[in-house]
Symmetry: C2
Subunit: 343 residues, 2 copies
Amino acid sequence: MAVTIRDVARAAGVGVATVSRVLNNSGPVKEETRRRVAEAARRLGYVPHGAARSLITRRTQTLGVLLPDLYGEFYSELVRGMDQEARRRGYYLLVSGMHADPKEIRTIVGTMRGRVDGLILMAPHLSPELLREHLPRDVAVVLIGARAPFPCDTVRIDNVAGARAAVTHLIRQGHQRLAVLTGPLSNQEARERLEGYRLALQEAGISVRPELEVEGDFTEASGYELGRRILSLAPSAVFVANDAMAIGLLRFLHEAGVHVPDQLALVGFDDIPMARYTRPALTTVQSPISELGSRAVRLLEEALAEGSGHVPRDIVLPTRLVVRESCGAAEGRVISPGSTINH
Amino acid sequence: MAVTIRDVARAAGVGVATVSRVLNNSGPVKEETRRRVAEAARRLGYVPHGAARSLITRRTQTLGVLLPDLYGEFYSELVRGMDQEARRRGYYLLVSGMHADPKEIRTIVGTMRGRVDGLILMAPHLSPELLREHLPRDVAVVLIGARAPFPCDTVRIDNVAGARAAVTHLIRQGHQRLAVLTGPLSNQEARERLEGYRLALQEAGISVRPELEVEGDFTEASGYELGRRILSLAPSAVFVANDAMAIGLLRFLHEAGVHVPDQLALVGFDDIPMARYTRPALTTVQSPISELGSRAVRLLEEALAEGSGHVPRDIVLPTRLVVRESCGAAEGRVISPGSTINH
DNA sequence: TTGTATGCGTTATCAT
DNA sequence: ATGATAACGCATACAA
């Protein structure tokens, strides 16, 4: 059996309350007593029992993280950002991936009662109605990636502006026939990026042609598999809604003997770490992925601290276009589409 | 305030013990009572309070995961494997990355008391002595990636066999002057892969030349930066101790105008998801990364279930060589170096 | 088959 | 400044 607060109290010749006061710096303690208690605690290697403390404190110092998946560098970066910020602020992260089923989300949210202080949720496939229905009312929640149709803390990327900047860049390179490889359109972010693509076209006076819009699913495999279809559209450039698909597409084009960017120009989205290592290096819209995670943690902690007086915020992070080789422009240019942050 | 077991008991007109019995399927309950209780619980949306339950049960259903880092696809895959297995077995994952400092490990291990049932620890940079010193004595631990110099559950990859198979393959391609780009040699896995390289050389009667051994740090950046140095060694092939570095090196070679595999053949290690998407596609030693994670979870659960009667196991997972383009051989071949599993 | 009461390890509320 | 002691919400031994 591990050493408890009672053991420390006995060893120091004081009551448990005093030990608690010393360890938490709560209430007044005579300096000499404090020393004695601290010494005893150190000597016995005492560590407070988390569950017991949580029970009375109503605080677990733990943040629940629910993601749709854990596969690939995007989530890796996201979790990394959250982990750094959480550690800095003295929080633990209870991470869980693979939540496609709304019911499953509800279940896991339920079982997290008494285990977490708040929740960071990324559920891009959930419709607003489902979201509203499945979101717990009695626990603080921060949504990542999608805006809620009701007041709720949110951290997301300016997908529309990012996509628009990417496509505008391609248009400025002289491209007229631009295809787009979108994410699954059940996904809000995928729809926003598609919207940015259309917006850029319209602004340039280029007509939006549905046959140039191909729907993928954000995986490398889908980028590879849809390569043939895209090629059949005979575009001179394609905006790929995320880097994973762009990497898959790049591989297909290589095997098909299509030269990028000469025969087909490409721009991706996200700027995952791997993007600079593809060949040709991927021109892409840089999302601050790890910042998305760290901001979510910070926002959640604020909500927790402010309690019921907290008014939800919608944080929109700006993107910037990183010009590398796949778009056919000079390397090293960075184009910022401007930023929006709403409080 | 959330609904507690008392509320359910009152609503169902029974005692709290009966509610507990129904919800946990412990002890006998009349069918009709069971129905009434279940109905009341459902209606009130009752969920047991995790901390309270943990306090009495001595079980948190949570596994602590301590990793040296969270950057890159390797950790992403590792965590994914753990997450899947943990979910299937009804466990939560408390994940924490970035633990370079041994003292920090000790601290975080301490603060996890009462929060986790066991620990999965990956600390490749820790020397055996430090490991022994900092490992908690009163909590179940599974080590990933490195064998401990004392009895301890372990899941690791057969690095020596994997590296040997890779280098032997290169030798069979006719290469005589083979360089190696190792990981940081403070890292046990890095040393094992280097050993496999040397072993293959010796077996082929090729003398081991220290000047052909270049030490990297397992990052893409280091692969890129050490490219010049490796080129100056004028090898005809290089065994790169992990895929991340191989990808960095590939990029350097491309920029330097060196053709892979014609002018320089390359073999990596790990087979991260990205490896098949590089250009040329990376020949590499496939580590079952996500299985590394899932096995760790399974082993930990076994240790937990068996209690003090548990005898530690050392699980060594086999690798296989995946032949793609970067080594200059025909694509699609798979060479298994044989497997070892010690119980 | 069921209810009452005790304890898990801590913090918080009272006395003193 | 300090020590008893009552919660916190649950599972469980024991009584009924």
